[in-house]
Every structure is written in C-alpha cells, then in structure tokens.
Amino acid sequence: MCAAWFAGVALSAGAILLILRAPMVAGAFVIVAAGVSMVFSLFVMMLMDSSKRARARQIRFGKVLAAVAAGYLAIVMMIAVAAPPFAAAPASGDYFESSLTMGKMMVSQYALPFELTGVMLLAAAVASIIIAKRGEGA
C-alpha cells in the first residue's frame, strides 16, 4: 500500500512538472518513479514484517514527536518561502520548453556531468549486484 502511495506522489509531482512547462523532466521523472515504485512494491511484498511483534517495537510517542517536528519544519519553511513577493510565471517560449534545448545542453554545456552521471549509474548498478551477492554469501 505504501508503495502505491509513493507512486501516487510521484505521479502528482510529474503532473506539477508538466504544469511548470518541463515536459521532458516530467517524462524522465515519471519513468524513473514508475520503476522505483514497482521495485519498492516488490520489496514491500517480499520483506515487510507486518506481524504484531514488529508493530510492538515502535518507539513510544515517536510518531507524535516526529509529526510535531515535521509540522514545525513545514511552518518555518513556509514562512520563509511566503515572505518574498513572487509574481506570476513569465511566459515561456519554445526555447525553454523544447526537448531539443535540453538535449543540446546535455551534449554541450553539461557533457561532462552527463557522462559522469552515466558512470555513476553504472557504478550503482554494479555495486548493487555486488552487495546483493555478498549478502547472499554471508
């Protein structure tokens, strides 16, 4: 259920990215979030311990304390955000919205970070396989 809620949150965030005129980012975000939520739901089904024993180990008052702390954080950050007077969004042209702009930027201005990101993703994939295999062997 929690993985389904995460998928809902990701879809909502993707819709907001579309409203913000970033269709390519929204597409990439929704694709990644769909994969992540699918894997999460698989792991939740495989590994979650929903027995009474697991529920009994919850920290006492932990939920209340965390809710108060999160509410306080939200209020403080919202006050900070609401203070400056922001105007409505300026009209965006084709240059901003176009995926061509983004693609050109990725292979020119951000070529090195783009390559490094690819290497990082490859390293993460290899590392996850190694960690999972090592866990099996232990």
Binding site: V25, F29, M102, Q109, A127, A132, G135
Partner: protein
C-alpha cells in the same frame, strides 16, 4: 487563481516535510528509503519551479541529475536492504546496532 512560485515552493516544502517525518517515524528501513525518495521528489519540484520562474533551462538540466542520483540511491539502497535482510532476517532499524559494539 494565478500560480506563483510560492505555491510551488509550499507544495515542495510540504512534500519534503512529509518525507522527513516518514524517515523519522518509520523504523522499517524500506519505509525510510521510500521517505527519502519523497524528499528527492520535493527537491525536483522546487528546482523545476525556480527554473520556470527564471526561465533558465539549465535548472531543468540540473533536475535530470537529481533524478539520476535518486535512481542510483534507490538501486544501492535496495541492494543494501536485501543484504541486511539476508544477514539479519529483519529490516527493523533498531535491530541494526552492530556499530554500537
């Protein structure tokens, strides 16, 4: 009603706070990982909002890198969870106290 940057940022703040609360409250490491992903989503929305209001496509490009980092974090995090579960038989964070000894 006109959409302003405040609306986007307030949504982002609310999402981040929900993720932070989840990471603090839940003792299951899988739930903590999902909460961290929610915090990543909040940062993506905030970044895209700033990019839209300043009309800078560079912000959207940076958002791609945040998404890639979130994906890598999920991959490694889930592998770690699997290794922890096969070793300890539980994902409860309070059971992981080997570093204390």
């Amino acid at each position: 009603m006109t959409l302003t940057l405040q609306h986007v940022l307030i949504f982002s703040v609310a999402l981040f706070s929900i993720g932070a609360a989840g990471a603090c409250v839940r003792r299951n490491m899988l739930m903590m990982l999902i909460s961290i992903q929610i915090m990543f989503s909040a940062s993506v929305v905030a970044m895209a909002g700033f990019s839209r209001w300043n009309l800078l496509p560079e912000g959207n490009a940076a958002t791609f890198f945040i998404i890639a980092i979130a994906a890598a974090e999920a991959a490694v995090g889930l592998a770690l969870l699997l290794a922890v579960f096969t070793r300890c038989g539980t994902l409860h964070a309070d059971e992981m106290k080997l570093l204390k000894d």
